[in-house]
């Protein structure tokens, strides 16, 4: 196994650029309207402009730019998913991450500090081993660590075999890591704006106009905007939008919670996930512990979740990392994610011509940002699903060809 990766520890972040984006004049019509200026929407706009020269694009955002899940996630990046389809798109994404800062020209704190996923029982080991071998055959970097090796990567791990759910092994993806969410969104936004994409904040879509099965544009609080093509990129709110266009999607919106501690001296150089005891944690650049909790079990658009989920998670964290027992919980929050029955995304065409869907990323949306944007832009530009998205169609729910990522893959973060 390789050792822990070089970290960049800066309590103080470098400064954002002096200029980020224009406040553009809204046009009457666009070639492409993207609904949702989150990470995926912004990345899609960027790749439409960059890869296809399509710049007559508006990204409509009902609130403030990247203020949805992009502002709320735990920023874990990895590609070690179980199924070939997932491996394909997440690995494509990871490869894009690896050059993204340079390409976009914006610091994003992309840090390949490794992602370790713990296994806590014989069955858990079996599942994680399958994941490990699946990654191997898909040429995705992965290592299998014994508990002792895991402790070398993260010395604060409790690998005692007397704890309630002892650590029995771990997978480790050295190329995995974290990035800084706001910086990623702003990087894409600035780059898209530079190429002429209009970023329209405070613009809420209230209707999608469809004539003869073909999309014509969107109704908004700022009036009707015509468009040749409309692309949905509004995680959590997708089903509300598809309803406007007259079709249903098998998505449920759930609250996914996360939390941070106060700033702490560096104790953890890697990302650690444990599905079995519901912990995933990294220590961000400034020093705070960033942890994700589970999704609440019921539909919600409130961006607030149950405190019992947080308590359960902190209890598990104290078990795995005794040193965390004195850390302070500083802030908790929730994001609204949409989840498909197989915990995999829905990306591609829809029953409405020239209307496209990108949704259902559940808890995996952040890490997919570049890959999803790339593939989605391609799908929109060519009006045909990109090769990496062909199995992510809505049709799979009819044929039964599901891509079930919540079974053996364990926690889907």
């Amino acid at each position: 196994m390789s050792g822990p990766l070089t970290r960049r520890r800066t309590a103080e972040l470098p400064e954002h650029p002096d200029f980020l984006w224009r406040k553009p004049q809204l046009k009457k019509s666009y070639d492409v309207i993207i609904i949702g200026a989150g990470g995926h929407g912004l990345a899609t706009a960027y790749y439409l402009a960059k890869n296809f020269g399509i710049t007559n694009v508006a990204v409509l955002e009902k609130g403030w730019l990247a203020g949805g899940n992009m502002a709320r996630n735990t920023t874990i990046i990895r590609s070690n998913y179980l199924w070939d389809e997932s491996a394909g798109i997440y690995e494509h994404s990871l490869k894009l991450w690896e050059n993204l800062e340079e390409e976009v020209g914006y610091e994003m704190f992309f840090s390949q500090r490794g992602v370790m996923t713990l296994a806590h029982s014989v069955g858990d080991v079996r599942g994680k081993q399958r994941n490990f071998y699946a990654n191997k055959v898909n040429s995705i970097d992965t290592e299998w660590l014994t508990p002792e090796e895991a402790k070398k990567v993260a010395p604060i791990l409790n690998i005692s075999d007397t704890i309630r759910y002892p650590i029995m092994g771990a997978t480790y993806q050295a190329r995995g890591g974290i990035a800084k969410h706001d910086w990623v969104a702003w990087g894409y936004a600035k780059a898209a704006d530079d190429m002429g994409v209009d970023l329209i904040q405070g613009c809420e879509v209230t209707g999608i106009k469809v004539d003869n099965g073909k999309v014509q544009g969107v109704e908004t609080n700022l009036g009707f905007i015509a468009a040749n093509k409309v692309a949905l990129a509004a995680a959590g709110h997708t089903s509300t939008l598809t309803q406007m266009a007259g079709f249903r999607v098998p998505l449920q919106s759930r609250t996914l919670q996360a939390l941070v501690s106060e700033l702490l001296e560096q104790v953890l150089d890697t990302v650690i996930m444990s599905g079995a005891v519901h912990v995933y944690v990294s220590q961000a650049h400034k020093g705070e512990l960033v942890m994700g909790a589970g999704t609440d079990a019921f539909n919600s658009y409130t961006q607030r979740g149950g405190v019992h989920v947080i308590e359960h998670q902190l209890a598990a964290a104290c078990e795995l990392f005794p040193i965390f027992s004195r850390a302070h919980l500083l802030r908790t929050w929730g994001g609204v994610v949409d989840i498909a029955p197989d915990a995999s995304p829905i990306l591609g065409l829809t029953p409405v011509e020239n209307l496209y869907i990108n949704s259902g990323w559940g808890t995996g949306g952040f890490k997919a940002t570049p890959g999803s944007g790339w593939v989605y832009a391609d799908t929109i530009a060519n009006n045909a699903p990109h090769a990496l998205a062909k199995n992510y169609s809505l049709k799979r729910f009819t044929t039964g060809h599901l891509i079930d990522e919540h079974g053996a893959a364990g926690v889907a973060h």
Partner: protein, 92 residues
């Protein structure tokens, strides 16, 4: 931590319940006669509204009964709970 009103036991913590998604989705009468699309809609497609929603919960750790309830997915406010196969109360 929601407090959910079980029609039999009264208000209890969310942790005593399991969620059952949209209410009033009946098992199709003759599944064999359904198209694949219609069957897929029965298995996988559920409403996901912003606002008031008729949904199912089961009081797993208590009386183990399924029931329906109005809940607002934007405010977490609850409307009335009601027993299965009883007429649904009006939207709050």
């Amino acid at each position: 931590m929601l407090s959910i009103n079980c029609p039999w036991c009264g208000a209890r913590d969310e942790t005593e319940f399991h969620y059952g998604s949209q209410a009033h989705v009946a098992y199709p009468e003759n599944p064999e006669t359904l198209s694949d699309e219609a069957w897929a809609h029965y298995i996988f497609f559920r409403d996901n509204p912003k606002g008031w929603f008729q949904e199912r919960w089961v009081h797993t750790a208590g009386c183990r009964r399924w029931f329906n309830v109005w809940r607002n997915t934007v405010s977490h406010q609850f409307g009335p709970s009601y027993k299965p196969f009883t007429p649904a109360p009006a939207r709050p």
